[in-house]
């Protein structure tokens, strides 16, 4: 670790003012601290959101839920509101990392980080969530921009994420056996606006929507509807853990399982 200054922000406004230039926001620290320990990042300052009470909590709103950016994965996993409105989201949170990670890691941190194998981005995209920041509201479709890239601008702080409730949804994660991140994760949501399918872990550019699945499932929300749909391995990751072919195959298997399990 290199040395850095530390500031505990009192408010979102404070934080967004402080988090400019070489300064960086720290939330749960589960991703950021390891990169600091390995000296892969050298921020001048860490701006800690941990003291901002408004950023923690889950509200049921208009049938959906709004989750404060500093809400931990563990809190989402056991939230009665989330379980009621979007059980798939609570299950997803329960499947992130290990207990230590779930008790420290936050939804805001996960979404801001946009790890290509993270789970929440798939939920945001498939459910058509809105990312609420210190400046504006961003639709999930416009938020995730590629590997670790998002629409966030300098000093922009995520304050909450709003998830409209789907009619049915489910997330199926095929874990990377080593990291336990998603080797392939497929979130399927049947919403008022149609079926949305988002895939994480597999794409070279991070989370993406699987339009061919959406069309097929739009016609008939049934696992069999995907049988005839081909999944191309082009644009998918190939690494020491899995080939692109295998990932392509798993996308379909996981999507079918998600459709079957959707509720």
């Amino acid at each position: 670790m290199y040395s850095f200054e530390y500031q505990k922000a009192g408010s979102v406004a404070d934080a967004s003012k402080a988090a400019t230039g070489e300064a960086k926001i720290v939330a749960g620290g589960m991703t950021l601290i390891p990169t600091l320990k390995l000296r892969l990042a050298q921020p001048s300052k860490l701006v800690d959101l941990g003291g901002i009470k408004d950023l923690v909590g889950i509200k049921a709103e208009g049938g959906g839920v709004t989750i404060g950016a500093m809400t931990t994965h563990a809190a989402v996993a056991k939230s009665a509101e989330v379980k009621k409105a979007i059980p798939a989201l609570a299950e997803l949170a329960e499947g992130i990392g290990d207990p230590a990670v779930r008790n420290r890691g936050t939804i805001g941190g996960s979404v801001a980080n946009n790890d290509p194998a993270a789970d929440y981005p798939a939920a945001c995209v498939a459910l058509g969530a809105t990312i609420v920041t210190s400046k504006r509201k961003i639709a999930a479709d416009d938020f995730f921009k590629g590997l670790f890239e998002t629409a966030l601008e300098e000093g922009e702080v995520i304050t909450a994420i709003s998830f409209p409730a789907p009619e049915k949804a489910n997330y199926q994660k095929f874990r990377n056996p080593a990291s336990r991140y998603a080797l392939v994760g497929v979130f399927v949501a049947k919403t008022k606006g149609g079926v949305r399918v988002a895939v994480t872990g597999a794409g070279e550019g991070g989370v993406f929507r699987k339009k061919s699945f959406e069309e097929a499932l739009g016609k008939s929300f049934d696992a069999g509807a995907l049988d005839a749909v081909k999944v191309d391995a082009k644009g998918l990751n190939s690494d020491i853990h899995a080939s692109a072919d295998y990932r392509a195959h798993l996308i379909k298997v996981m999507a079918k399982r998600a459709v079957q399990a959707a509720k």
Binding site: M1, S3, L38, R39, F174, P177, A178, S179, Y181, I240, H241, A242, S243, Y246, H249, L250, V253
Partner: protein
């Protein structure tokens, strides 16, 4: 004898209270007055020439005390402990192993310099600022690539990167056996390279006493006396009397902490230069790229069978990776711990094995839990399954047909070892009963109804433990003896301190050894202290590896205890005015046969130290005895493991539905500890079979350098393990406890059982480890495609 603390009792591990409450003392917990910190600067390249190292910037940085490179530290090289000879009798190629790289670096992680500073952070800053100009060279990385013609040369003196070309067995007899074969079963297999991953990373503190000129090294070692011998005599030229090695609590080793590593010599030497203590503790990334790795073989093997399935002959050709330098025991692992085990539990009359050890631009490869024996067992037990498949015989039946029978012991194998005892049908019977082998067909059918592929697989392993008779290993090229020492010090009030040359780093010696003492002397456990891991306290020791502690260290302990009892009898005879030969000792009491005279062990101990009424002209006061034990033979634990797996065709995921183990460890001191050792071994075996593998890319960069990529098994990857000791144990015939050793069995026996089950489920002849979900999925799909045809 106090109730339930002697041999055979499942006494709870006395050491666990301190381990589980975080109050152990590991090397990194030790801090010396005025301590400084070292950071090793490691090569980012697999192979490069060091053109220039510019220290000037680093030396000017805050807190930096010194920077040493290979040019500064001109000391002896790290020695290799075992000379292996080529088939033509010439010695192996033994290149230098400098403590700090000289002129060239030969693997990613090779030490180029050390930076020492007041704080670890300052040392790290200094290390980062060090200007090193490398001329990158092509690297020979994988075993297969390193032996290709025109492969880059790791060492100019090792042509074709060959370290040695070794042979064992009778080639002509083996060829003759193949000539009359009814069938020949063949296999090509890889034994995947593993990274050991002890829970505690390696650490070392060098300390130099200005007043006395004495050096002390605190280090994470399985064998402090071996480190003293190697470092003192070969590397730094410090006499034993001036060098103390302390290996305090050590958090796991699995072999990786046997070897003498460069960092130990660096901090010791530099402490003498700076006249300050120096601490180095590896971070996890460093462990991945600097702890010696394990396994890494490519083999081709053939088994000749007659028409009834009797094995006639076995031919094995193996390439074994040594990495860039020869680590302490590296050369003997794929030879004397591998080739000698190729008979397995079978009567194969003719065996020939050829092993070529190969240098590559990777971390040195050395002993890892099982060391050579898992590689041998995997090869034999997979090949036997291939043979069963070709002969259309049941895997259990073909094994039984070829087992060495109890009446045949002592059994001389064609590959040098003489097994003293065993009963292989007994463990096979028990394991088959445990898993309900007969009921498998029904379970397979039930699984098929759920769309799952179910398979069953067994392995009948044997290992050579209790390493080893010195005369035997000496004749085979070992440069050390492999006995063990024990000292029993009975204190005036009858409490006992045991000083053992064995070293515990998770095995529970503080309990097991104390049980042996409690049994023999009738002293309660609370009054027995087991002291180990300090050359300043213990006379000598060869340490703990190769499942040798109870078989060799325990035997030395028994010898010393017998001497205590013998002297005690003399003292008691004097006190009771009886003849020494009439004195009996049992349950902590000396008695005279046929009388009611008795003296307790405590009374005799006190008399030894307060010799007012004492046979002083015949006997010295005091009650302390020393013994060394050099075994007559290896010990031969054996057993049978059976795994049942269920495969999901859609994803290739696998569930180990059952795993049963029946082991024969001879006599058992503490059944609970033995069970725990088997559990741990099996878990590592499952790790190798399904999850773990070390991957380097073509350039020699380690791709599996963290837990994000190197997959250790976790609790939810594992089935419940059903572990039982055989109901027909065959105690070792040549050591006083009848024990055989149990530390490595699980890691040896589990991988072939799992792979045999997978191959059985998929109907394929072979699959290499780790059997990843993707590999299984591909094989399952190919099977479905075949079935459709």
């Amino acid at each position: 004898m106090p109730e339930g603390t002697g041999i055979g009792a499942s006494v709870r591990r006395r050491e666990d209270a301190r381990f589980l409450t975080g109050s152990g003392t590991y090397t990194d917990d030790i801090n010396r007055h005025g301590q400084t910190h070292a950071i090793m600067v490691r090569s980012p390249h697999a192979h490069a020439k060091i053109n220039k190292i510019d220290k000037s910037k680093t030396l000017g940085m805050p807190g930096v005390l010194a920077v040493y490179t290979g040019d500064d530290m001109k000391v002896g090289g790290l020695p290799c402990g075992w000379l292996v000879k080529n088939q033509d009798g010439s010695p192996m190629v033994e290149p230098p192993h400098p403590v700090i790289a000289q002129e060239f670096v030969r693997h990613v992680g090779d030490i180029v310099a050390v930076v020492i500073a007041e704080t670890k952070q300052q040392a790290r800053d200094g290390a980062e600022a060090l200007g090193i100009d490398y001329g990158v060279l092509p690297a020979a990385v994988s075993l297969g690539d390193a032996v290709k013609p025109n492969a880059p040369q790791v060492w100019p003196q090792a042509k074709g990167n060959i370290c040695y070309d070794w042979g064992l067995g009778d080639k002509a007899a083996t060829d003759a056996a193949f000539a009359k074969a009814h069938k020949v079963a063949k296999i090509d297999l890889v034994n995947n390279r593993l990274i050991p991953n002890a829970m505690e990373p390696r650490a070392a503190i060098g300390d130099f006493d200005k007043a006395t000129g004495d050096y002390t090294l605190y280090t994470t070692s399985q064998n402090p006396h071996v480190i003293r011998l190697l470092m003192g005599a070969f590397v730094l030229s410090i006499p034993e009397s001036k060098l103390r090695i302390v290996a305090p609590d050590v958090g796991g080793g699995f072999g990786s902490k046997i070897f003498h590593y460069a960092e130990e010599a660096i901090v010791t030497w530099a402490a003498g230069q700076l006249k300050r203590p120096i601490k180095w503790t590896a971070d996890r990334s460093e462990s991945f790229m600097s702890d010696a790795h394990g396994r890494d073989h490519i083999s081709h093997a053939e088994l000749a069978l007659d028409k009834d399935g009797k094995f006639l002959g076995l031919k094995v050709e193996t390439l074994a990776n040594m990495g860039a330098y020869l680590s302490t025991f590296s050369t003997c692992v794929p030879t004397y711990l591998y080739g000698t085990l190729l008979a397995g539990v079978y009567t194969t009359p003719a065996i020939f094995c050829n092993v070529k050890a190969v240098f590559t631009n990777t971390v040195p490869v050395d002993a890892y839990r099982g060391a050579g024996r898992p590689e041998a067992t995997f090869l034999i037990e997979r090949l036997v399954d291939v043979a069963a498949r070709e002969m259309k015989m049941d895997p259990a039946e073909i094994r039984r047909k070829n087992f060495i029978q109890p009446s045949q012991f002592p059994y001389q194998t064609p590959v040098a070892l003489q097994y003293d005892t065993g009963n292989y049908d007994a463990t096979l019977d028990m394991a088959m009963k445990m898993i309900d082998y007969k009921g498998f067909a029904a379970r397979k059918e039930a699984a098929a109804k759920k769309g799952k592929l179910r398979g069953i697989g067994m392995s009948c392993y044997i290992e050579a433990c209790g390493i080893a008779p010195s005369a035997v290993v000496g004749s085979l090229g070992a440069r050390a003896g492999l006995y063990e020492s024990a000292n029993v010090r009975v204190h005036p009030t009858g409490s006992v301190s045991i000083f053992t040359g064995s070293h515990q780093h998770g095995q529970g010696h503080e309990t097991t050894f104390a049980q042996v003492v409690s049994e023999k002397l009738g002293v309660p456990l609370e009054q027995i202290d087991i002291v180990h891991g300090d050359t300043g306290k213990i006379a000598f020791g060869m340490g703990t590896y190769g499942s040798r502690s109870i078989a060799v260290g325990g035997a030395a302990l028994v010898k010393a205890l017998d001497k205590i009892v013998a002297k005690g009898k003399k003292i008691a005879a004097h006190l009771m005015e009886a003849s020494e030969k009439d004195v009996e000792f049992k349950d902590g009491k000396f008695t005279v046969a046929g009388t009611d005279k008795a003296k307790t062990f405590g009374e005799v101990a006190l008399t030894a130290y307060v010799p007012h009424n004492y046979p002083i002209t015949e006997l010295e006061p005091g009650l302390e005895e020393q013994a060394f034990y050099d075994p007559l033979n290896f010990t031969y634990p054996s057993g049978c493991y059976i795994a049942e797996v269920e495969i999901d065709k859609d994803t290739g995921t696998i569930e180990i539905a059952r795993f049963v183990a029946s082991d024969d460890f001879g006599k058992i001191i503490n059944p609970m500890i033995v069970e725990g050792q088997v559990h741990g071994g099996i878990v590592q075996g499952i790790g190798q079979a399904l999850l773990e593998t070390c991957v380097y890319n073509k350039e020699g960069q380690l791709l599996t350098g963290s837990y994000n990529d190197y997959c250790l098994p976790r609790a939810d990857d594992l089935p419940p393990l059903e572990v039982q000791h055989t109901d027909k144990p065959t105690p070792c015939t040549h050591n006083p406890l009848g024990v055989k050793g149990c530390g490595e069995a699980g890691a040896i026996g589990a991988p072939p059982a799992i792979l045999n089950a997978i191959c059985n489920a998929l109907g394929v002849a072979h699959m290499d480890m780790p059997a990843t979900n993707e590999k299984i999925w591909r094989a399952a799909n190919a099977q479905t495609a075949r079935a459709a045809e």
